[in-house]
């Protein structure tokens, strides 16, 4: 369900801050009675969320402690197995090919940081370039650069998978045209192209290129917006003081847009950590499960494995990890907020 422009958790978390009026001198029942209309407005949303979200989550907690499999779809009375599912996951004792929880988690973290690093550096560099005074064709460049954001992420992933085809893909055809080594088995070669980065096979780079393509316009747009708020006078003052362009960038631009970039970076981290479409559709987690991330592994436990109990436990583990990341990122964004 990850849309390209899902608005960020950190942005939203900031809005929780507005304080609720303290009614502590009025009784709870009285408060509820006074706000009857409010509850009537919330009721439809509450009902839908209760049936499709809250109930499944409770059900998921129960399933996580049972040996629920495909058989139980017809006869939903699986046996209670205690913490077995959780222990099996942490010990990689799951009957699914190439299942390795710790490798998947490690890979997911590495994948996230490398991606966001490229998104941010490319995004800021393009925003700064387009923000140069009297730069020709700004709007033209901008509308072309923003195209990857407008294409649905899952179609992007399918197109890039096709482009990484060994024999007929555009990437290898282009490499051949440029006289570079081609015939690279991007998606099937399990060996790492860079030796000291031994856990990153070719398909990691294929997914990385796809996801960088998909994500840099967002950072560019956020950085462009942030640059508008940097006062021009600062640069003039810096020039008078004899600061070089490099100094101006590192001493003025970067510190001033950092605060505006932080929430977007937090969003980028969570978004990339859960980038199902790119991993599942480009590499499929392969070869040999080397590029599996948590959300693709969670999906495979349901389809094709049909291990509903294990999948539920796995989902809960993912949920706890995400909750942890959110709390940390929320703390970081709040920290920046108090500085301003």
């Amino acid at each position: 369900m990850k849309g390209n422009f899902k608005v960020s958790l950190p942005f939203l978390l900031m809005k929780v801050e507005d304080k609720v009026v303290n009614y502590s001198d009025i009784g709870l029942w009285e408060q509820i009675r006074r706000n009857k209309l409010a509850y009537r407005y919330i009721l439809p949303a509450a009902i839908v969320m209760a049936i499709v979200t809250a109930y499944p989550i409770i059900y998921q907690v129960w399933m996580a402690f049972t040996n629920f499999t495909v058989v139980n779809l017809k006869n939903p009375h699986p046996a209670f197995v205690g913490l077995k599912n959780f222990i099996d996951i942490l010990k990689n004792n799951v009957p699914l090919e190439n299942f390795n929880f710790w490798r998947t988690l490690t890979f997911d973290v590495i994948w996230t940081f490398i991606n966001v690093f490229f998104h941010v550096t490319i995004g800021i560099s393009l925003a700064v370039a387009l923000n140069t005074p009297r730069f020709a064709a700004k709007r033209f460049y901008r509308s072309l650069l923003i195209i990857p954001w407008a294409v649905p992420a899952y179609i992007t992933a399918l197109i890039w998978k096709n482009m990484f085809d060994t024999q007929f893909g555009a990437v290898n055809l282009l490499l051949a045209k440029l006289g570079l080594p081609h015939n690279i088995a991007w998606l099937t070669n399990p060996n790492p192209p860079i030796h000291f980065l031994s856990i990153l096979p070719y398909s990691f780079y294929a997914c990385l290129i796809t996801n960088v393509w998909l994500g840099f316009p967002f950072m560019m747009v956020v950085a462009s917006g942030a640059l508008q708020s940097v006062p021009k006078e600062l640069y003039e003052a810096a020039r008078i003081d004899g600061a070089t362009e490099r100094q101006q960038f590192f001493e003025i631009t970067l510190p001033l847009i950092r605060f505006a970039m932080t929430p977007a970076i937090m969003l980028g981290l969570i978004w990339t950590f859960n980038q199902f479409n790119v991993i599942y559709l480009v590499s499929g987690g392969g070869p040999l499960g080397e590029t599996e991330i948590l959300v693709t592994q969670a999906y495979k436990l349901v389809n094709p494995a049909g291990l509903f109990g294990v999948a539920s436990a796995f989902g809960l583990i993912v949920f706890v990890i995400l909750l942890f990341i959110t709390l940390v990122t929320n703390r970081v964004s709040k920290a920046t907020e108090s500085v301003i």
Binding site: K6, I42, P263, Y299
Partner: protein, 285 residues
């Protein structure tokens, strides 16, 4: 004279840098268009050409005539299903989300904070991590294999965003306008429908677009839940097409253009709102 030359040189380098990234950004698009226009109906391309010799739109005609190789479903049927699912998701998430967002924005009631935080936590949960129980529950309710079940599931995934986005926007609408309406004899409901909603068109548009895009491009839940070809959506048909080895690439390219075009057009029409909403949020920091 010398500093002027220096500035020109700097601009030239920056243009080269920007043009490089423009090329990266449009390369896949050109590749897909060129594949779709290939007249030879060969299964795989062998050269890089922008407009292949004798370009035709035959592949578009082919995929519209036979979109799904496994069964006899028409393109019109798939289009209808996709429109129904995405339209339904967009409509319900805005309708239900707007009322809840209004309550969160204007009333200070017990459970407000808890409600907002729990919507947020749910918002964060990836669909694939909640797949197992959803599959079982919708199966037990006998709506798993239907478009209604799909709209239901999608709405629950888009609602948290809808509520948060609309609440944020309602907060910026001045309370005085509403109070004036209340003094003039409106009740709360009329104030909501006649004052707040008309003033919130940009936020409503973005929320609708978000719901529509989600419904239009989601394939993973649909592929897991639906088994009857006559209730397939365009997105899952495209996914299925990639799984088939014998599908000519020109068909795949044509079909992906057909599926993504409505979204790209909508995105560019509403771009101003999307971008301003996002950058406003971040600049406010």
């Amino acid at each position: 004279m010398k500093p002027k030359v220096k500035v020109k040189f700097k601009h030239l380098l920056l243009h080269l840098y920007v043009i490089f990234w423009v090329a990266v950004a449009i390369f896949p698009i050109l590749w897909v268009v060129s594949m779709a226009l290939d007249p030879r109906n060969i299964s795989k391309p062998t050269t890089l050409t922008l407009i292949p010799p004798g370009a035709t739109v035959d592949s578009f005609k082919r995929v519209i005539a036979h979109p799904y190789s496994g069964a006899n479903v028409t393109f019109a049927k798939l289009l209808w299903n996709s429109t129904l699912v995405s339209g339904g998701t967009a409509f319900f998430s805005v309708l239900i989300g707007a009322t809840a967002a209004y309550a969160f924005s204007r009333f200070k009631f017990p459970g407000r904070q808890a409600g907002m935080v729990s919507f947020l936590v749910i918002f964060m949960l990836p669909a694939s991590a909640a797949l197992a129980p959803l599959f079982v529950i919708l199966t037990v309710l006998h709506i798993r294999n239907s478009l209604i079940g799909l709209v239901f599931a999608y709405t629950s995934f888009t609602l948290p965003f809808a509520i948060w986005n609309l609440k944020g926007y309602f907060d910026t609408v001045p309370k005085e306008l509403e109070e004036a309406a209340l003094v003039d004899g409106c009740n709360r409901n009329m104030a909501f429908f006649k004052v707040i909603l008309p003033l919130s068109t940009p936020a409503l548009a973005v929320t609708l677009l978000f719901g529509f895009m989600n419904g239009w491009t989601e394939w993973m839940l649909a592929w897991t839940f639906l088994t009857k070809p006559k209730s397939f959506t365009l997105a899952m048909t495209l996914y299925n097409m990639v799984g088939q080895w014998n599908t000519p690439w020109s068909n795949f390219a044509a079909f992906s253009i057909l599926v993504s075009l409505p979204i790209i057009i909508l995105w560019f029409l509403l771009q101003k709102y999307i971008v301003s909403g996002l950058t406003l949020g971040s600049v406010k920091g």
